[in-house]
Structure formats: structure tokens, C-alpha cells
């Protein structure tokens, strides 16, 4: 698996898109820092961008890489290699190179700005960790979609829909449910609702850490009240890990069942 990971990673490092993604984050980091002039405020703005953008890039990139590297996959399948290592190697190759673009792209301007002397360093690290989690989750989901759909256009369609659903529609539905059932106790429901969406979960996680009650919203408040800050952090991390493991398991399962 490590060898396939290496080749996928090199392949991606040679492609233009990793650099575009890296440059984008670099620019975003620089612009935010110099416009804001305040590290903690920049972190909050970054959070809003990361939480929507990282899943989108992860999904699109994952689906694109899977379909584009079909020839490479076919070549590997003709060799005596385990299927799970072929697909896991490719998945990790994509996920790691995307995470690296994110961490380096955002990290560099912040380091130069004086991150290490600032108190925002933990908030910022948490932001990067969450971003990495989201990359792992959404790339895995994208691989699942691509493995299940031979048709490229369909695969892309489902990938975009998935992102749109989790990033936008889910929140709307969630809010509407809360309003409709406002006469009932909704603590549990809203907790579960948050856990079932990795994007919401990441947002709550970061806001818990930043301790900005004004931005927490109803779910965040319930979360904080229910779990407390530190336990809440642990629970959300555990849930994010589950969100990575489940799609990864399905990649392995699905790839072992598929005909090539």
C-alpha cells in the first residue's frame, strides 16, 4: 500500500491542481491576516471558509482523481496486488496531498505573521486538524461515490449533490425541524442531528474551542451544556473519526466486491 501511496502522491505532486489549491490557501491566509490585523478574528473567518470549501474540494478532487487515474488503476489491477491496498493507497495519496496543501498554504502565512508568539496557536491548530479531518472524510465519500458509479457524469453529479446537501440543505432542514417541533424537548434530537453531519460537527467543535457563545447557536449551546467544553471536544473528535472510518471501510468492502 505504501508504494501505491507513494506513486499516487508523486503523481498528484506533479499535477497543477495541488499547486493551485496550495496557492489559493496561501493567498487566502495572507489576505485575511493583513486585512484583519488580528489573529483570532482571522481564525474565525478562516473557519467559515474552511468548513464549506474543504469538503467541496475534497469531494470534487476525490471523484476527479478516481476517474482520471482509471488507467493507472487498471495497470495496478493487472499486477498481483491486493485491491484494498490499491484503493487505500490512492485514497490516502489524494487525502494527504490535499491536507498538505491546506496545512502548508494556511500555515506558512500564519507562521510568518507570528503565530508561535500568539495565543491563537491552539485555535489555529484545531482549525487545521478539523480541516484535515474534513478532507479525509469527504475524499473517502467521493471515492465511495466514484466506486459505485461507472458513469463519470453521474459520479460528479452525486458528489456535488452530497456536498450541497451536507453543507447547505442539511442545515436548512435541521432548522425547519427545530422550528416545527419547538414545543417538544429538542436537546437530544439536535445533538444527534449535529453528529450526523461532519460539517456541522466541525463547526460546533471549533466554536466550542473558541468559546464564542454568540456564534454557537442553539445546537452549540446544547452541546456545551450537555458535554461541557472538554468532553464535548473529545466526543466530537470521536465522531469525526467514526466519520472517517465508516466510508474507508466501505471503500475496502466495495472494491473487494467489484468486477474490473
Amino acid at each position: 500500500m505504501l508504494k501505491i501511496l507513494k506513486y499516487s502522491f508523486y503523481d498528484l505532486m506533479r499535477s497543477r491542481w495541488s499547486y493551485v489549491y496550495f496557492a489559493f490557501y496561501l493567498l487566502l491566509g495572507i489576505v485575511l491576516l493583513f486585512l484583519n490585523n488580528d489573529l483570532s478574528k482571522a481564525v474565525i473567518t478562516l473557519m467559515n471558509v474552511i468548513i464549506v470549501l474543504v469538503p467541496l474540494i475534497g469531494t470534487i478532487f476525490g471523484v476527479m482523481y478516481y476517474y482520471n487515474s482509471k488507467e493507472f488503476t487498471e495497470l495496478l489491477l493487472a499486477q498481483p496486488l491486493k485491491r484494498s491496498s490499491i484503493f487505500m493507497g490512492q485514497y490516502l495519496g489524494v487525502a494527504i496531498s490535499l491536507s498538505m496543501s491546506l496545512i502548508l498554504g494556511l500555515g506558512l502565512p500564519f507562521v510568518f505573521y507570528g503565530l508561535f508568539e500568539s495565543s491563537a496557536i491552539w485555535d489555529f491548530s484545531l482549525l487545521l486538524i478539523t480541516g484535515t479531518f474534513l478532507t479525509l472524510i469527504f475524499t473517502a465519500l467521493a471515492f465511495n461515490i466514484a466506486l459505485s458509479n461507472e458513469n463519470k457524469i453521474k459520479g460528479f453529479g452525486y458528489a456535488i449533490l452530497l456536498w450541497l446537501f451536507l453543507a447547505v440543505i442539511y442545515d436548512g432542514l435541521f432548522l425547519m425541524t427545530l422550528i416545527m417541533f419547538e414545543d417538544y424537548p429538542l436537546d437530544k434530537l439536535s445533538l444527534i442531528g449535529t453528529m450526523l453531519n461532519p460539517i456541522d460537527l466541525s463547526r460546533t467543535l471549533i466554536l466550542l474551542k473558541l468559546d464564542i457563545s454568540a456564534l454557537l447557536g442553539y445546537t452549540g449551546a446544547v452541546f456545551k451544556q450537555f458535554f461541557g467544553t472538554s468532553f464535548g471536544l473529545i466526543v466530537s473528535f470521536a465522531m469525526l473519526t467514526v466519520w472517517v472510518i465508516l466510508p474507508v471501510l466501505r471503500i475496502i468492502f466495495k472494491s473487494n466486491k467489484k468486477d474490473f
Binding site: 493507472f72 493487472a78 496486488l81 466486491k257 468486477d259
Partner: protein, 235 residues
């Protein structure tokens, strides 16, 4: 060497293999023939574990392939369509495959044999179909495994490369290897193969030597013998 029992495979609604039984003994060249869409490639891919059968047992070298995938290291496989990553150079591709499987020195001899040296620094995307097929052949033959499976090995090759390929196949046979070939070029099959396996409608219709086929169908030459099977069965 390879034993297959009651193999069934369906793709959607299309039944490709329906209860195929086949046993291939050690050493020799076996040609798998059949009309288009008769399931030749599917059969090969099930032996390789690339297609998962609905029913049936396959064992290679005495071991059931479902239990352990180690047997794959004993098989060299030439895929039908050589789809290579187009941004890689020939040299890099060979190096990569060696890195993924195992180290070998055979590639230099094969590169020499197929006169590929001038192409080593070219990207795979810029190569012609025939040259790609030669690269494909190098990748397949460089590992020296006891079983060799060739899916349409002749496609795109020029006459001189075809002669070299035939010599190569005979040399591999002389080492005691078991070689499975599918091809639509009847003259090629007639020249190289020891035994014919004819697939029709997902089953083995005939297995035996070319001579036996000629007597069975009452035809003087091989090509007509094959054609008579196909016309008799309205395929």
C-alpha cells in the same frame, strides 16, 4: 495447474458464463477461442480474481483462489487493452512495475528483443498502439512466472514483432510454463497452440488438439473448422 468447476457469471441481465468447467494441465500452450462476447476475457479475469464469479470454484496450483491471493504472484498477465498513465515515461513505468512486484533483470533483454530502446524516454501517451503493446509485452514477460496469460497478444504488432513474439512464446513454453492465449488471428493460434479450448454461450464447447477439432468437424483446415462450429450453432 488451473481447475475451474461450475463457473457462473452474470453482468446485469447478461449471462456470460453458465456452468463452465475447465481443467488445464501443466506445461504447454492453450488457446482460448470463441466468438465475440463469448466470455473469453471474463474467464481470464475470473482466474485472475479481477472479476468475482457468482458461483463456482477456481483453483490455481492446487489452491482455491478465494482463500489466498498469493497465487497471483505466480501469474503474468497481459491485459487486452494497454491503458497506461499517459504522463509517465516508458522507463519510469517499467521501473515502477518492478518496484511494485519484484526486481528483475529480464526487462533489458526484452527491451532489446522488441527494439524499444529509442522509446524509453518517451511518454506513454505519445506512443503508437503497436509500441504500447510491445511495452505491455515487456511488462508481462519480465517476471518469469510459471503461468502466463495473454489476452490478444498480437493486437497492433507488425510482422517482425509478431515473429519475435512467437519465438518468445515458444521459448517460454520450453521452460515448462503454462501459457493461456486468447486471439482472433486463427493462423497465429494454429501455429503456436498445443490445445484449443472453444467457448460458446458461456460453456466449453470443445477442448482438444487442432487435429481432433478437424476430425470432429470434418474440415480440412483449422479456420474452416472454427467457422463450421460457429455456423452450426448460429452464433
Amino acid at each position: 495447474m488451473v481447475t475451474i468447476e461450475g463457473l457462473h457469471k452474470k453482468f446485469g441481465k447478461q449471462q456470460v458464463l453458465s456452468g463452465l468447467d475447465l481443467s488445464i494441465s501443466e506445461g504447454g500452450i492453450f488457446a482460448i477461442l470463441g466468438p465475440n462476447g463469448s466470455g473469453k476475457t471474463t474467464l481470464i479475469k475470473t482466474i485472475l480474481g479481477m472479476v468475482i464469479p457468482d458461483k463456482g470454484e477456481i483453483s490455481v496450483l492446487g489452491k482455491n483462489i478465494k482463500v489466498n491471493s498469493e497465487y497471483r504472484h505466480k501469474i503474468d498477465y497481459l491485459p487486452q487493452i494497454a491503458n497506461f498513465p499517459s504522463n509517465l515515461k516508458v522507463k519510469e513505468l517499467i521501473k515502477m512495475i518492478k518496484d511494485l512486484r519484484k526486481s528483475t533483470k529480464e526487462d533489458e533483454r526484452l527491451i532489446e528483443l522488441f527494439r524499444l530502446t529509442p522509446f524509453l524516454d518517451k511518454k506513454l501517451g505519445t506512443l503508437s498502439g503497436g509500441t504500447k503493446q510491445k511495452v505491455n509485452l515487456v511488462l508481462t514477460f519480465m517476471f518469469d512466472s510459471p503461468i502466463v496469460i495473454l489476452d490478444e497478444p498480437t493486437s497492433g504488432l507488425d510482422p517482425i514483432s509478431l515473429i519475435r513474439l512467437k519465438d518468445l512464446i515458444q521459448a517460454e513454453k520450453a521452460k515448462g510454463k503454462t501459457i493461456l492465449i486468447t486471439s482472433h488471428i486463427m493462423s497465429f493460434v494454429e501455429e503456436v497452440s498445443d490445445e484449443i479450448v472453444f467457448i460458446l454461450e458461456g460453456k466449453i464447447y470443445f477442448k482438444g488438439s487442432i487435429l481432433e477439432l478437424k476430425t470432429k468437424t470434418n474440415q480440412p483446415d483449422f479456420e474452416h473448422a472454427i467457422a463450421s462450429i460457429l455456423t452450426e450453432n448460429h452464433a
